[in-house]
């Protein structure tokens, strides 16, 4: 088997004096979807933020074999990691199209960018309808689509998704997860997914990691984790 796309070892991170993650270790293969489960405050969001340098972190992070643990956020992103943040990170005063165009400015392949615009608009026809509208006027679901669209415009190899279902109607969540599945299978984009809705996350993911107060307590194939009694009781509710 070839080397994993993302390798994390001894990852420690926190805010100020408070440590949130304690010596985390996990990895993610090319084309794989992994999900991180855990209660509120377990460190799921912090893990994603640590990977792309949005919080102070120590430890080993390798992406495609190269260390990225010392890079600033913008350099991590330029290596091919797209983070779809909690709260969606919309540029509210820019138009929908400007939001997407912005994500492509680091790219040199002009013609492929034009094709990617079409692809994003095909995935999310709503965004095409509203391309000239200020992004701040979009609904929550549309802003989530825009956040995923922005990430796609970066042509990433890995997407970090922070609660993409948060605050959305079930129908829209279904749509968005379906599209994530398509992106993964057609473009071979790997994904690391943090999600409150554990059942949904385990459906999409191949692998799962369970975090408890900043420590990794369980890991394995998603189907196996789903059968685990404690996971079922804590996160699936049956």
């Amino acid at each position: 088997m070839s080397r994993p796309l993302l390798e994390v070892g001894n990852l420690t991170a926190g805010y100020g004096q408070t440590r949130v993650l304690h010596r985390l270790g996990f990895d993610l293969g090319e084309g794989e979807i992994a999900t991180i489960l855990g209660a509120n405050g377990a460190g799921k969001t912090t893990t994603l933020r640590a990977l792309c340098g949005m919080v102070r972190r120590e430890g080993e992070i390798r992406f495609d074999g190269r260390p990225i643990g010392g890079l600033s956020t913008e350099e991590v992103v330029r290596r091919g990691i797209a983070h779809v943040p909690e709260g969606r990170g919309t540029f509210v005063r820019l138009t929908v199209e400007e939001n997407l165009r912005l994500a492509a400015i680091t790219r040199k392949d002009r013609s492929a960018v034009a094709a990617d615009f079409e692809r994003v608009y095909d995935y999310f026809p709503r965004l095409r309808e509203r391309r000239r509208q200020q992004a701040g006027t979009l609904s929550g679901g549309e802003q989530q689509m825009l956040a995923i669209g922005r990430a796609l415009m970066l042509r990433p190899r890995l997407m970090l998704l922070d609660e993409p279902s948060f605050g959305l109607a079930p129908m829209i969540v279904q749509d968005i997860f379906g599209i994530l599945r398509t992106i993964n299978s057609e473009d071979r984009v790997s994904m690391l997914l943090v999600e409150q809705n554990a059942s949904l996350a385990l459906d999409l993911a191949n692998r799962a990691y369970v975090l408890e107060t900043g420590r990794l307590v369980l890991s394995g194939p998603a189907a196996k984790i789903r059968e685990d009694d404690s996971v079922r009781r804590s996160y699936l509710g049956y």
Binding site: T73, V77, L94
Partner: protein, 293 residues
């Protein structure tokens, strides 16, 4: 007082208003990037004007000196951000204010030290006399308006149509998200400083012919620029430009009122600042910040 005088003063107000608009725009650009008012903006512009003066004295023709001054000011602005403001970007507001005022004092006395305090005439690139021979507006004032409009137009086009402009808007609006699409936010801030310094330099070179070159020449202009920025809305570049023009016109027309005269003109700027802040704290075009609780 007849209608002709009023029209004449209003047009003259548009000319100086353009200068205030440029200064207001420079102030707003830095405000949007770092959330602070650059009190040293005027002194930076004054210093740039001295550089232009030196270049012209060294024998450079006006427009060459003009362009070279823009380049030097741009680099100077970038340098100030990188060397002075980058290290303190997390510091509290008061630290910023102190550094801004320190910078103001440094530029002011450095200019006095290098070029001394005697008042110097500054050339106009435009011929003397009236536009098309009329007495309504001088060629210099008409040229000032033209230069200002070109600068404002270029800045607008830059932000509206270029990718770097888009990245700068994004970085100012939402730095964290901008990083997440690979924008190098720190460099965008530095670029903003450079552009603001260059815009200020244009304002300084244009107004120096009227107010004469001396280390304190920009203090009044900066005050009007602030007034323009506040009237228009500190976070709205378009608003700041509008506010600058408005302040220029008001300033000139108020000078016509018998008991105000030219002595009280500067007070008008302060009254405007205080008045607008009392009635509409975010300015005419500024966004009101609404926070959820």
């Amino acid at each position: 007082m007849d209608a002709y005088t009023i029209l004449q003063q209003a047009i003259s107000g548009v000319a100086t208003g353009g200068i205030y608009a440029s200064v207001a725009l420079a102030v707003v650009m830095i405000y949007r990037a770092i959330d602070h008012f650059n009190f040293a903006q005027g002194e930076m512009a004054m210093f740039s004007t001295y550089i232009a003066w030196s270049l012209m004295h060294a024998g450079l023709p006006y427009w060459w000196a003009f362009i070279l001054t823009l380049a030097i000011s741009f680099l100077g602005g970038v340098l100030i951000e990188r060397v002075i403001f980058r290290p303190i970007h997390d510091a509290p507001v008061l630290s910023h204010v102190v550094v801004f005022i320190g910078l103001l004092a440094i530029f002011n006395s450095a200019a006095g030290f290098i070029w001394d305090y005697t008042i110097k005439p500054f050339p106009s690139p435009f011929a003397s006399g009236g536009l098309f021979g009329s007495t309504l507006i001088s060629l210099h004032k008409a040229g000032m308006i033209a230069v200002t409009l070109v600068v404002l137009g270029l800045v607008y086009a830059f932000f509206r149509f270029t990718e770097v402009g888009l990245a700068m808007r994004a970085a100012a609006q939402n730095p964290e998200s901008a990083r997440l699409v690979g924008v190098r936010v720190e460099w965008m801030t530095a670029l903003g400083w450079g552009m603001a310094a260059a815009i200020g330099a244009v304002a300084g070179m244009m107004i120096a012919h009227d107010v004469y070159l001396e280390p304190n020449m920009m203090i009044g202009v900066l005050l009007y620029g602030f007034a323009g920025a506040i009237v228009g809305g500190v976070d709205s570049p378009g608003g700041a430009v509008f506010g600058g023009f408005l302040v220029g016109i008001i300033e000139n027309l108020v000078g016509l009122v018998p008991f105000v005269g030219s002595e009280l003109k500067l007070t008008v700027a302060l009254v405007l600042i205080v008045g607008v802040l009392m009635v509409r704290p975010s300015g005419i075009f500024g966004t009101r910040v609404v926070r959820r609780v």
